[in-house]
């Protein structure tokens, strides 16, 4: 398998993990060539996760903004986001490899909840690493993980957020790889993780592509998804990459604004770096230390981005834009009021960009947006924001 996407990707890990990665790559290649593996995966996707989920034509948004706006409803999945698609795939692989324990990192808690869920379902011991800051702002998800039997470890080093939780998960993995599988939640990390996460998330665009052809008899003009590490977006783009007439947009978090320096847009400045086992665009300071990301959304609060996104940016296949905290919160409220859907703050970034994009498009054009998760987990953050304070400051 190819380890690089242009100059990006690779395996920047300790020597002690190189054989672990080789073992993982081999097991993964065997699994994806085995139709029984996919049979089992698809069974859980349908009967457990509740797929396929709808591609919903949002009529009131369409009326207000012009082009037809379709929402791919990942928020309706079991556990409330797209994260479960990848977790089920990786845990089935872990089982196949004879591992008995899983570890995961989590930012907003969605991937942690999904991993805890999968671990309960497949009877595995689960430990989730979560930054202390994130534990405080996502207490509901912490409790959820504990209810599901997972141990949540508070990470109190560095910035105490997702980046540091990932560092700690990597350290534990380097020590315990013999019996432990590291379930990475985004399209990041050393090869083969970015490829694997993309593969398990591409179910999003496989369904969406089929659904839009059924409903409209043609492909969409634009596809939009939010992008932190970039797992829902790479899954949403995967099946459209070869459809050259479909424009693809990844939406990063601009936080308080790119110009303020308080943002989470790894690609805005275009500075490649090496973190978490990969080479990709990375927020860093003048000395090459990783800079803290800022976003009201814990799920996008990550200084890097998946390596394939860096490649898709440089080749021009995908356009990456960014949306501020304020723009995303306005969009979030709009979806609540117009459609009766409370989106995750992450997904609201994509929505805010859809509104901008719609202004440049014609009435009969079609936009598909990945509604990657539901906003139940975010109601405290939204309440605080509406109350005039940003909990993340």
């Amino acid at each position: 398998m190819e380890k690089y996407y242009g100059e990006f990707g690779g395996q920047y890990v300790a020597e002690s993990l190189m054989n672990t990665l080789a073992e993982l790559e081999k097991a993964y290649e065997e699994a994806i060539a085995d139709e029984n593996f996919w049979k089992e995966y698809n069974y859980y996707m349908k009967d457990y996760v509740g797929r396929e989920n709808p591609l919903y034509l949002s009529q009131r948004l369409t009326e207000k903004y012009g082009p037809k706006i379709y929402l791919k409803r990942e928020d309706l999945n079991h556990t409330g986001a797209h994260k479960i698609n990848n977790v089920i795939g990786q845990i089935l692989l872990a089982k196949r490899m004879g591992k008995t324990k899983v570890i995961a990192e989590t930012g907003a808690g969605q991937h942690g909840v999904a991993t805890a869920t999968g671990a309960a379902l497949f009877n595995m011991k689960c430990t989730v690493y979560m930054g202390k800051e994130d534990i405080e702002r996502q207490s509901l998800n912490v409790f959820r993980m504990q209810m599901l039997g997972a141990e949540v470890v508070s990470v109190e080093t560095g910035s105490k957020t997702l980046k540091d939780a990932t560092n700690e998960a990597i350290r534990t993995w380097a020590k315990d790889a013999e019996d432990t599988f590291y379930v990475i939640g985004s399209a990041v990390g050393p090869h083969p993780y970015p490829a694997m996460v993309k593969n398990f998330q591409s179910i999003i665009s496989k369904e969406a592509r089929k659904q839009i052809l059924e409903k409209e008899g043609r492909l969409p003009d634009a596809v939009v998804a939010c992008c932190g590490g970039g797992s829902n977006s790479i899954g949403m783009f995967a099946e459209f990459l070869d459809d050259k007439d479909v424009k693809l947009y990844g939406v990063e978090a601009a936080g308080l604004g790119i110009e303020t320096g308080k943002h989470a847009s790894a690609m805005a400045k275009g500075n490649p770096g090496i973190l978490h086992g990969m080479c990709s665009y990375l927020l860093q300071d003048d000395d090459g230390n990783v800079q803290l990301a800022h976003s009201i959304s814990a799920g996008l609060d990550y200084p890097g981005v998946g390596p394939e996104h860096s490649y898709l940016r440089d080749t021009g296949r995908v356009t990456y834009e960014s949306i501020t905290d304020k723009e995303c919160m306005d969009a979030l409220m709009e979806l609540c009021r117009l459609e009766g859907i409370i989106p995750a703050i992450e997904s609201a970034h994509a929505l805010a960009y859809v509104f901008k994009l719609a202004k440049t498009m014609k009435k009969d054009d079609i936009i598909i947006m990945c509604l990657s998760g539901r906003g139940d987990k975010d109601v405290h953050t939204v309440a605080a924001y509406l109350d005039g304070q940003d909990m993340n400051k």
């Binding site: 890990v13 300790a14 020597e15 002690s16 560092n167 090459g288």
Partner: protein, 262 residues
């Protein structure tokens, strides 16, 4: 141009002695004291010093070095300042020096500039824990362009197994054998097959074999003395220096005690 590590290793071998190597985070407690600590160690007989270049995300390090790294960054320690410090040090000290650093710091500085600067100030070796053999191509190209460039030292782990011959084929300076799994600074709790593994590395290696991770005193490595050519102490040494308020006399005592007992 001669490499100070290689010279030192040759001398030790001729004298039938073991190497003692320490790790310290550069710039702690401050740049000036760092220079004095390096000199004191050299006077006390240390063979090589690993200088840790602090990085924001030290994934290969345990809590002690993570914390040291974090504090150094807070104090404003940067690669540029460390280069200045080494330049100053080299006016009066010929200790073999190795940078232990993460790849992003090098990449951000620019590979060619970095290598040239290392050569200018007198860095003899590099340990880059997140740059495994397969990713070393670009750095090796940069290193090969400069005469007297530092050696890129190879790390070997207890689970490297079938990779060992590949890792050692063109290795220079010394081989760094990680004694336990995971990160730096765990207590002397070595991987179960560490003896077999060290033996295997030794049998393949054309250069001296050093053991590191989790070592505190010469006693910890006594049972491997027949195999290894030297030992590396990192986290324990950092803690020891802190507990003794960076007292140069105490540092010298520790170094010479380890050297004598080893």
């Amino acid at each position: 141009m001669e490499n100070r590590i290689e010279n030192r290793m040759n001398r030790l071998q001729a004298e039938g002695k073991k190497a003692f190597i320490t790790y310290m985070t550069a710039g702690l407690p401050d740049m000036e004291t760092s220079i004095n600590i390096i000199k004191a160690q050299y006077e006390a007989g240390v063979d090589v010093i690993e200088l840790g270049v602090p990085f924001s995300d030290p994934v290969a390090d345990g809590p002690v070095i993570q914390d040291a790294s974090y504090r150094a960054i807070q104090q404003g320690v940067t690669l540029a300042k460390i280069f200045d410090m080494v330049e100053e040090l080299r006016k009066s000290c010929e200790v073999p020096l190795v940078f232990m650093m993460y790849y992003n710091t090098i990449n951000h500085y620019g590979l060619d500039n970095f290598v040239q600067k290392c050569q200018n100030v007198g860095i003899d070796g590099l340990i880059v824990p997140d740059l495994p053999f397969e990713e070393q191509g670009l750095l090796n190209t940069a290193l090969s362009k400069v005469e007297g460039a530092p050696y890129l030292l190879q790390l070997v782990s207890p689970v490297s197994t079938d990779r060992i011959p590949m890792l050692l084929e063109n290795a220079k300076g010394f081989v760094y054998c990680v004694s336990s799994m995971g990160v730096t600074g765990q207590a002397a709790h070595f991987h179960k097959n560490v003896r077999d593994y060290l033996g295997k590395v030794k049998s393949v290696s054309k250069i001296p074999v050093m053991m590191g991770f989790g070592i505190r005193t010469a006693k910890d490595v006594e049972m491997f003395e027949d195999i290894i050519d030297g030992a590396i102490v990192g986290s324990y040494f950092i803690k020891y220096m802190e507990e003794n308020n960076y007292d140069l006399q105490k540092i010298k005592e520790y170094i010479s005690k380890f050297k004598t007992e080893f």
